[in-house]
């Protein structure tokens, strides 16, 4: 289950995008997605324009687009919802290939497809070009409450340990003849969850005590070794949202 480990999402590289500090990339992605979502769906040309900076990031970061596209498939359930909308929505109908479709429904479907796709690609690119430490340092620099940053830190660090443990417990169960196939056979799974929680919590206690003995005082020295973003880096990061905002303004004025 290595797919569950956040580090597996990071694609190591040494491109200008990889080198940007985490805080710059987080802010850039959030502003970009907000701009995309705020654009009315009827500005079709604007959405074509929004794809350009994302494509540019893929090129500059020298990433293989195929694995990224596979990751972007996570939005498929919502594309299915989008397919249903033209049939279910009210409003004036249009005829298309013998189907009677709702016009507002078609716009709504386009709205979801365009915005969800751009949003997913922005997030996929962020995760692929930013390692976990840089992301955590970024959150900390952006004044995210320390307690949240620390919870994320521990979570990210231990989630693969727990998944491995769950996997081992599952193998142990199956090799003893368990064959859970129906909801009413779920007792063993749930008992496993209980055991997993106990192990997780007790591991937390152990880790905490180990950290105390190494001088932990309630603050993590996360990011001390990474320099904060410089103006030049903020400017480089601003290119993504700035392009999007320019496109949005041009589209709504025109």
């Amino acid at each position: 289950m290595t797919a569950g480990h956040p580090d597996a999402l990071y694609v190591p590289g040494d491109s200008p995008v990889h080198r940007l500090p985490g805080e710059v990339k987080i802010v850039a992605v959030v502003l970009y997605v907000v701009t995309v979502v705020a654009t009315p769906a009827t500005e079709v040309a604007a959405f074509a324009g929004y794809a350009a900076p994302v494509a540019a990031v893929v090129i500059v970061s020298r990433l293989d687009p195929l694995p990224l596209a596979r990751r972007a498939l996570i939005e498929v359930p919502f594309l299915l919802l989008a397919v249903l909308l033209p049939f279910l929505s009210t409003g004036p109908r249009v005829e298309w290939l013998g189907l009677t479709l709702s016009e507002p429904g078609l716009w709504a479907a386009w709205n979801i497809v365009a915005k969800a796709t751009l949003g997913v690609w922005a997030a996929v690119l962020l995760a692929a070009t930013t390692d976990v430490t840089s992301l955590l340092t970024g959150l900390q620099r952006l004044r995210c409450p320390t307690v949240i940053v620390q919870i994320v830190t521990f979570m990210v660090r231990y989630v693969h340990v727990l998944l491995d443990e769950a996997h081992r417990m599952r193998i142990a169960r199956l090799s003893r003849g368990d064959d859970p196939r129906f909801l009413w056979q779920v007792r063993a799974t749930a008992a496993g969850f209980g055991a997993l929680f106990l192990r997780a919590f007790e591991r937390g206690e152990r880790v905490y005590v180990a950290m105390l003995s190494r001088g932990y005082t309630g603050r993590m020295p996360v990011g001390a070794e990474r320099p904060a973003a410089r103006v030049r880096e903020w400017a480089a990061g601003a290119l993504l949202p700035a392009t999007a905002v320019t496109i949005a303004v041009t589209a709504t004025v025109a």
Binding site: K115, L135, V161, R181, L196, A200, V207
Partner: protein, 235 residues
């Protein structure tokens, strides 16, 4: 159940509604950060982090509902029962933030909506219901089981109702009178999911309560009779 594998994407709910819910979510997170300190000394953050990792792992582990159909837990009620409402809501929110930023699971602009549905409704409000049920029901193992089961079902259905409400306020499509039917379908599906969630959550919480009753936040000051010893032995 695989259709609910993803959280709300960008573009489903309009910008203004998302912004309002993002503000609510921020206020909730601020409250959680302050109140979590009462439940969990700030120095004990490793435990909260491991709990968040646990919720994350549990959401990734599929279990069979029927052959070919698998589901996974949302974990809100389980988090609240085990570590309390504030830490639980904080852990669920953290999981949602990481999923949006690192896994592209759920839109970044929809984070506020998801946090309200799954942390505020799914964990925080739910905890009140759980405490109430624990007070009303007999203090036995089956009493606790029923309380946790009902709470889990309510948390999943209420979370889905939250989404339906958000869609009615700022959804991109207008279903007109059809919204009622879609809402019924949505809640019906989530009632089934909730039953699965309830069975697993109740069994999990009971398993923890048996081994380490001190770790189940919802059972503080709530002594359970010990499970009768396994038969056999002396005679």
């Amino acid at each position: 159940m695989d259709t609910v594998a993803m959280h709300i994407a960008d573009g489903i709910i309009d910008g203004p509604t998302s912004a309002v819910f993002a503000a609510v979510a921020l206020a909730l997170l601020a409250a959680c950060v302050v109140k979590a300190r009462d439940d969990l000394d700030e120095r004990l953050v490793p435990m909260a982090g491991l709990t968040a990792a646990f919720i994350f792992a549990v959401q990734m582990l599929n279990f069979a509902v029927l052959p070919g159909v698998s589901g996974h837990l949302l974990g809100g009620a389980m988090a609240a029962a085990l570590v309390g409402p504030w830490v639980g809501a904080l852990c669920v929110s953290t999981v949602l933030i990481v999923q949006a930023l690192m896994f592209a699971d759920g839109g970044i602009t929809a984070l506020g909506l998801s946090i309200v549905n799954m942390a505020l409704i799914g964990a925080l409000v739910t905890y009140g219901i759980l405490r109430l049920l624990l007070k009303l029901l007999p203090r036995t193992r089956s009493g606790v089981t029923v309380a946790v089961f009902v709470t889990s079902v309510v948390s999943v259905v209420a979370g889905a109702a939250g989404f339906v409400l958000q869609f009615a306020i700022g959804g991109v499509a207008d279903f007109g009178p059809g919204l009622g039917a879609i809402a019924t379908g949505m809640l019906g599906i989530h009632l089934l999911i909730g039953v699965g969630e309830g069975v697993i959550t109740a069994t999990t919480v009971l398993a923890v309560a048996t081994a380490r009753p001190d770790l189940v936040h919802a059972l503080r000051g709530h002594t359970l009779p010990h499970r009768p010893a396994v038969a056999g032995g002396a005679e």
